[in-house]
Symmetry: D3
Subunit: 247 residues, 6 copies
């Protein structure tokens, strides 16, 4: 594994000459996560998964993008959102630069729901315009599976976790000093009948910004979740690499 | 000072209610800096200046942008460049989000030459379209002044420093573990007659990527440089704040 | 139900004054579907579902869009593809026009895989920019469920159906004269290990353009599939309408 | 003639190998046409001309585009307008796809005034960027000529016909069931002194949306008009094809 | 009449307070016009018509735009072409600035064929987006009429005049020192069968760049042409102004 | 020197075959310059410098662009501003056209502060996208130097001159008939504390639009200034040409 932020260009030259030529990019956000989690929660989680993944693949780890498309939480202080087209452009530019440099694959580890479409858009555009190096976007594969295994509190909605037991556990695992257990409080907002069926602002639905219950969170659970998601991510990437080999 | 990456939304709410409502954004790059400095050199330096500035102003420190418009170094491995329009969009989106949230001023601490025009473009667009919150772009005010005071090695060209005594000193001050003194070597490339008069690729001019001499670098000099640039930055920002108060 | 292509403006005026003010837009494609199905297969299917849905909702049925983002089949004659950004623009423009006219909801019935991201992008942009009327994109809800119930031939890959038993059955149900049973032939191409994990051209994978087995297709199965997907679509839309009522 | 919507890709392959390789695209609109004509009037007319033209040329007939740039009628219910840039993009994308597939010429049969500039723009852009396959835009050549021969009612303004004797006759010829003779009423609005000299909204000028007198309309006249316009269109296209042969 | 290039802002203030608030913009090109006419021919002609028009209307004359969309003559030295979208943007920006300043009407006097669509596009966009001040584009109204009256040489093609008797006469009338009678030579190129039916490069068709016969040109004819076109332009503008008064 | 507006294409052909193949483009503005100077002041000055420069270099002089990005003076009558992106597009299009025609260098002589960033943006984009011909932007090199030598009145702010002694002298040198000495009046507005540190509208700061004192202006000073700036410009360009020769 090579961590690009800390490496010199000569070390990258060696890595590209002999290594896997896979790059991993954690894409996060600066977004409200309740009164007890830091604004960088999504970035911390994506970086933690990406780091584990880069280690298991012996890949190049890119520095995380700390901003995402989080307009749905724009109403609460602290959220700093960038537009969907900017997310797409950022991802597309980084991918094009890696492609010119000879990388074999870019894996995006996405940490925020609002980045899904824009990152997929960049991946599709690269493929449709014939870019040699493919881009794969991962949205925490295996998360629901491991969540169902370790979670003690109920979901706020199927698949919806925001500042809840899961996210709090992951931040406890990677940056415990940034968690405020004294401010834990559960919130199970009444969701509109069509929640999840159309795009809507989240902030008005929960005054605290919490969707779920952070109280049963532990660092151990967080580590279990991160390890499982990283392992599932590796499984996906190895299939992609196998596909590239036979292409 | 509030560091947004580590803060919760409730803490930001308090800060905005009572504080200076100034935000500071370090804008860096992932760019070759010779065989002895990390690719994140520009980001580390911008973040160090921004952090000192945010402390002296009691401002909100934004997480750094780790990618910049560095096409002129695209030829060496490790450089990952994003387009000028993407830099502009990223800065404009962050500024618009802060404007909606009620900030009074955004200060960009720019760490890479290639970001100058794109960041200025975003600042001008914000002003021309009537955005309430102004954007100020700082390109290390006072740098040449303090450099002339502490520098022992000659400049590669007037005002040109890349992986040289100055940059190496600054990284020694903030991230000494990432510096490789055993790989120090000076380079004073023959520059074209029109160097600095038009845009041109830098990489072909210096095989090592160095422009200057890193050997006299020390952490003490780095600290002096950072402290002076931060102090000059503060002076500029205080003048802008005074201008806003009388507006 | 009002079919806009056939209605006069005065009839639409009456509909908007008294009716549900829901509009349904079938979004298709002009794409190769093997030697036995017409290029308009996706459009015919989307229109059939949209028509049933509009009837059950008493909604306004828009004329279908006959072109989609089908670059992955561009290599075979007959496919006429439009860009992803054009799909987004078309959907966004139609939505904006309906919003100005006072509609309460636009439901997109999407008939082609390549339109998914671009249509979702339009729906998200409308929400993020504060458009009053929401846009919901449906990708044949319930299709896999009913397919598992009626299908006799195996899937070419989980969830992958192209010119197979399912699609042939649906066209037999709505436009039997356009189906050529004498040209039926099954194809179960060897798919790359990473099929479905990244965007890739489909045409090179199957010389006939078929993925699956059209031979067990019947109009009865087609009618069952369309009825089930339309019923599931109605269920989704009614939840969205309920959410709007309480908003 | 091959009708692409109904054809299979193998049939298109044969057509391209042996045929004229000319494609004809009817470009319509969804626009108010008085209380007696359907919103799809422009699409029906363009499709009727395009079909006759494709038959006489043995060309490939593309499925019609049912939406156009009709902002000038946006004020009346039922009009669903798309932007001028979207019309241009749609036409340019379809042309580029046909160019890649080996077509020799794309003929656009335009059915709506608001599409003129955007379609011409796409044709010019294709020529200016060196696209091999040219694009020709036809705006009903010979229409005024034949109108002067068959028309019994006066023009609302020179060359202006909207829901009048001409348009009503054409729809009577191709889709009589969609015409409501019981709602016929003439309207000769007072037009501003500068009508036709600058772009202006049409809807405020005629409360019924009619410009002219539908009462003398007959299917026979409609058939005469369509036949003449199709013949004139063929004459133009044959000259273009002759020009291509000598190029 | 006020000539903006020469006026001070205080004089413009007076003009806007009391005058017609009509602005006239000559839009030219820098384009080959044979061996005997200057590259600025289109600009000189548009400026001459615009000046006469501004005088008769007591309007504000804007400085001419000396560059146009002339890609079809790009192959000959001296032609400097700007893109169609840039022509549109330039016209739209000037119009928006005049609109903000309180002008009642912008009249574009277009001097080059390639600017037609882009200028019309700007005018339509202004109308479609609800700009208060309308934009009218004039393409030398009455030119063919007066040409038929004064011309002694035949047309190269109906309505086609480039470096011929007409254009040479107009430049003789306004800038005789820039005309080289010793280089006059006629050229009646064989035109493709589809000339005028689709966009095509002009330069390959005539080695000298001339289409017609400059030899019978005289300054008197030039003056007659300019006077007639200016008078017809005035007639059109007065109708537009009458329409505005009644709006 | 060849003045393109007045030259024929055959003369340009000869020039490109034998000459320096350097082009000089004066980029001005239509902007308020106090009650005593014409709106075209910036264009006149840029054209005067460009003309002298083209003469000394034996270069091709392009016709001036008479419009610039002057939103900061938009509030006073007479200013007609175009957007920054339009300035960039105009410059980029002209550069691309000259590049295709075989020119060796484009020198932009910029006459307005607001054009700086947009012109630099075009130059950088050309370099970043690999355009063969470089673009150099000159912002009156040597102006402050010569100003300090000839100026009798104080600066309104360091480097700020608008309708003052300097500009008035230059217009007296090139277009004395357009200067109104009877309206001379000095203005030394109180500037905000952060003047020059961020983009801000200028018009509200000076009711007359003057920043400085026009009264000591003379044509002789104007001629001295223009000659010095042109000579400094030549020095810069010759260094660029030398750099190109060794490239």
């Amino acid at each position: 594994m090579i961590e690009l932020a800390n490496a010199t260009w000569t070390e990258v030259g060696d890595f590209l000459a002999s290594g896997t030529r896979v790059a991993v990019l954690p894409f996060g956000a600066l977004e409200q996560h309740g009164p007890h989690l830091p604004l960088s929660t999504d970035t911390l989680q994506a970086d933690a998964v990406a780091r584990r993944l880069a280690e298991s693949l012996d890949a190049a780890l890119l520095p995380p993008v700390a901003y995402g498309n989080t307009w749905s939480n724009d109403a609460l202080p602290g959220t700093v959102s960038i537009g969907a087209d900017t997310v797409t452009a950022l991802c597309a530019d980084i991918a094009a630069s890696l492609d010119r440099a000879g990388y074999a694959l870019l894996v995006e580890v996405n940490g925020d729901f609002g980045n899904r479409l824009p990152l997929q858009r960049a991946a599709e555009r690269a493929a449709a315009t014939g870019q040699r190096m493919p881009v794969v976007v991962l949205d925490y594969p295996g998360l629901v599976e491991i969540a169902d295994a370790v979670k003690e509190s109920p979901w706020a909605a199927p698949g919806l976790c925001h500042a809840d037991e899961l996210e709090t556990s992951m931040v406890l695992a990677v940056a415990p000093a940034l968690v405020h257990p004294d401010r834990y409080s559960a919130a199970y907002p009444q969701l509109p009948a069509d929640f999840g069926l159309r795009q809507m602002p989240l902030a008005p639905l929960s005054p605290s910004g919490v969707f779920g219950d952070p109280r049963p969170a532990t660092a151990e659970k967080g580590e279990q979740i991160l390890a499982h998601v990283a392992a599932e991510s590796e499984r996906v990437v190895r299939r992609v690499l196998a596909g590239l080999d036979t292409a």
